[in-house]
């Protein structure tokens, strides 16, 4: 195929990502699992890239988990999304940026519904007015936070002090990129690269010097799946999905996994511990597991942020082997110190996973 043709086809897989003035909405679960990721995003945007990011303390959960488990009806979640758009409108912003892939999927679904069924939008406006006396404008731009980091990936590469290169042999680190299903599988036009060639994470990895692994189960779901983990007896389905991915990526010996979804990062990290405890298996040669990072943590690392300030001691799989490969200097003693320097305690070690 000629280059011109390639460019034309690839242009159909692009999305518009706002350049500045973001109305930022947090995830309801990320701060528990990966506590420094959202703060790192804000710090990078505000301090390193000098962008305007606004967040409103009155923002609530999008109720996506309740919606996907058939507890919250569509009319309710639609009204909650409408309230969030109203908060954005009241603050004078037009670019809506959710931190969570589930929320991003919810907003894309609602906006698409309103586009095709205007009576549903009218219903949401009516419910919101009745409940809160609020009105809203539909966002000009809806971008996930990983889209924003993707947009500035080259600027960050120029600002960064580290590359995704093994300092011992000079070779690019081998990276598994995992994209949340709700990012672009439901509405392909809403994601960079669509559902077929999602480039949002691979673009970052390549811009920062790493090598993306193309393994057979690359686009398989992590198994998060809402109903699969909410009911304990069903968690085997969730676990088995992740196991399938680990078995598929294992021969390529990845140095780490990066994910753009709260649930994916959580389960790809924690299920490695569970599988190790159940079956005595780890998926790397050292027996320590494959580190799993959020894209904000990855961006923070190459920008030289302290891994312990970013909360990376909360990971199940130790990140020190990865830090050593990149050549990031860190203080081992600081790992279990809180934000005010207080000792926060060392977790009980697992039986099989080495620390």
């Amino acid at each position: 195929m000629e280059q011109e043709g390639k460019k034309r086809i690839w242009s159909e897989y692009q999305k518009e990502i706002a350049d500045d003035h973001y109305f930022y909405v947090r995830s309801c679960i990320r701060q528990t699992f990966f506590p420094g990721s959202e703060t790192t995003f804000l710090k990078i945007l505000r301090d390193d890239l000098s962008r305007d990011v606004f967040e409103d303390a009155r923002h609530t959960t999008c109720t996506g988990i309740g919606y996907h488990t058939d507890i919250v009806p569509f009319e309710t979640i639609m009204t909650i999304a409408a309230r969030h758009f109203a908060l954005m409108t009241e603050a004078g912003y037009v670019n809506f940026v959710p931190s969570c892939v589930t929320s991003f999927g919810i907003y894309t679904e609602i906006l698409d519904t309103w586009k095709h069924f205007p009576e549903m939008e009218a219903k949401a406006r009516d419910y919101l007015w009745t409940a809160t006396r609020r009105e809203f404008k539909i966002p000009d731009n809806l971008s996930h936070t990983s889209d924003i980091i993707y947009r500035f990936r080259n600027e960050l590469a120029e600002l960064s002090g580290h590359r995704l290169v093994n300092k011992n042999d000079g070779k690019p680190l081998k990276v598994v990129e995992h994209i949340g299903c709700h990012y672009a599988k439901m509405f392909p036009k809403c994601g960079v690269g669509g559902a077929e060639f999602p480039a949002v994470l691979s673009g970052m990895v390549e811009a920062w010097g790493g090598e993306v692994i193309d393994y057979p189960e690359r686009r398989h779901c992590c198994g998060f799946g809402f109903r699969q983990y909410l009911i304990k007896a069903n968690r085997g389905y969730s676990l088995s999905n992740s196991k399938k991915k680990f078995e598929s990526m294992q021969p390529y010996q990845p140095d780490f996994i990066v994910a753009n979804c709260p649930g994916c990062a959580m389960f790809l990290d924690r299920w490695q511990y569970t599988i190790a405890e159940m079956e005595g298996i780890t998926y790397d040669k050292s027996g320590k597991g494959i580190p799993v990072l959020t894209y904000e943590e990855l961006a923070g690392l190459i920008m030289g942020y302290d891994p312990w300030v970013m909360g990376m001691q909360m990971h199940q799989i130790s990140v020190e082997p990865l830090l050593d490969k990149i050549g990031i200097v860190y203080n081992k003693k600081d790992k279990y110190l809180g934000s005010k320097g207080q000792y926060i305690g060392v977790p009980q070690p697992p039986h099989f996973l080495l620390q």
Binding site: K243, K244, M278
Partner: protein, 111 residues
């Protein structure tokens, strides 16, 4: 496992990397009607041996056709070769001859 309340679920998918096409090639030559099977399970439903254990002619034919033949010999040996499966088959698959051939071919392979 009980301490977790859940466990790893074994997949029912056919692993194409593990496919063994050798047996189906031989059986297909000896008894081409194996390709007519639609997997309805009439054979398994009427099987006398299956009344007493988990033997299933349908599952064996499916395994041969998908190349998952690793544990098949132990299963085939449960067959009494009575031929009732053949009588009820809506597609006139000669199931008895298929199983007989599996015994003979796999027995020879073992030798």
């Amino acid at each position: 496992m009980s301490e977790w309340g859940f466990t790893v679920i074994q997949t029912n998918q056919s692993d194409m990397d593990q496919m063994d096409r050798g047996l189906i090639a031989k059986i297909g030559n000896a008894e081409p009607s194996i390709f007519w099977c639609i997997g309805c399970g009439s054979c398994s439903a009427t099987c006398t041996a299956a009344q007493f254990n988990n033997f299933s002619p349908r599952r064996i034919i499916q395994a041969i056709r998908s190349g998952q033949v690793k544990d098949i010999m132990g299963e085939v040996n449960k067959c009494l070769l009575c031929g009732k499966c053949q009588l009820v088959c809506p597609r006139h698959v000669n199931t008895r001859n298929i199983l007989l051939n599996v015994k003979q071919i796999m027995g020879q392979d073992a030798i």
